[in-house]
Amino acid sequence: MVDPAVEPLRVEVAPLVQYAVMNGGDPRKGIRRFLIGFPVCLLAGFALLQVPQVDAAIMVFTEGITWASAGLIHLFGGQAVVAGRILRNPVNGLAVEVQNGCNGVNVTVLLWAAILTYPAGWTRKVKGLLAGTAALHILNLIRVISLFYLRQYRPYWFVFAHLYAWESLIVLDTLVVFWIWASRGRRIAGHASTI
């Protein structure tokens, strides 16, 4: 019960500390577990990508990305035809192939490893995985479409943008998606810490 005459005191504590305190744990233990669990989970995720059956499933997913990119191009009045993982302009014949590395799978593994090993409740983790993955793949669609047009109108910059610029920027975005998710815990837990 809160006495209505008394202004509730808001305690601003870092979300990770709040989570640990609410769960009766030591925040340093959570961090230690993250520091060990994150690289292990990351390596396991990338190892899983090498399994032939997983690779085959990813190829199907990558074809889906190609279709979704073509759909978006049509939606905004552009022209593109799809053949497997190849996105082609039917007018000038120039095409891009969506390959492993351009399908957002690597950064998905990175985000999942970070969220799964971060000390937080499972409901929040599942929400973070779903929303974070969706955010990354929306961005990845923009990446594929931008590369499709760059290939046609600025071929000199295509390799630069494809292999280096977008690759680095999407990792940065993954970091920020994780950061937003982790800091949201402050606001959620902030209500619990009103005493």
């Binding site: 990508l49 292999l163 680095s168």
Partner: protein, 213 residues
């Protein structure tokens, strides 16, 4: 009153602009000198391998790819079905090619690391951290080339093999080529910059701390 954007978004805008700028500088100015340095350090590393000497080298092809002559123990060649020369050397050379695109990818880590460090909250140890990280990536780059080269030697000698060592080497090559150059700079910057690490990991309340540009 104008509503202030959140620290993660402010960081994202700054880091994106800095990454784009530094990558353009790297692509137009720094890439060729960095490849020269990478070649020298990778060649030094190849010659330092067991059995390595001056007969193992890296030559640059006209299209920019590297032809590498790697020292490979005769016992491995024997396992791959090559006859052992009686009284022959314990190490023999295997020639392989690594495309310029792969080599360029190895050097991209440095400008990305600089960009993230400069976009992160100001830190008293900025210059020391920049130097530490640059040294780390400078040393890592030839090691990544060596991992790629080892995986290609494996591909030449044991094509289609599912031996655990082959699987591990393939995974290492995948990480060296597709993951490390873009992911490690960001992770290293988070590890080295206290302010950024505390905010990203939600160890500190990011809404109260200032992210200076």
């Amino acid at each position: 009153m104008r509503r202030q954007s959140s620290p993660p978004l402010r960081f994202l805008v700054r880091a994106t602009l800095l990454t784009a700028t530094l990558l353009a500088v790297w692509w137009l100015v720094l890439l060729d000198p960095m490849l020269v340095g990478l070649r020298a350090s990778a060649e030094f590393l190849i010659r330092a391998l067991p059995g390595g000497n001056a007969s193992y080298y890296i030559a640059v092809k006209p299209e920019g790819a590297w032809e590498i002559r790697m020292p490979v123990p005769a016992s491995i060649l024997e396992r791959a079905g090559f006859a052992r020369v009686p009284g022959g050397p314990g190490v023999r050379g295997v020639r392989l090619t690594i495309e310029r695109q792969v080599l360029t990818g190895v050097t991209v880590a440095l400008p990305v690391f600089w960009a993230v460090m400069l976009a992160a909250p100001r830190d008293k140890r900025l210059w020391r951290n920049l130097a530490t990280g640059s040294l780390f990536f400078g040393l890592l780059a030839p090691a990544l080339v060596l991992i790629q080269a080892a995986a290609r030697v494996r591909g030449i000698l044991f094509h289609g093999s599912h031996h655990p060592a082959s699987v591990v080497l393939d995974l290492a090559a995948y990480l060296a080529g597709h993951v490390a150059p873009s992911t490690l700079p960001v992770l290293a910057a988070v590890a080295l910059n206290d302010g950024l690490r505390k905010q990203v990991m939600a160890l500190a309340d990011s809404s109260h701390s200032s992210l200076q540009s």
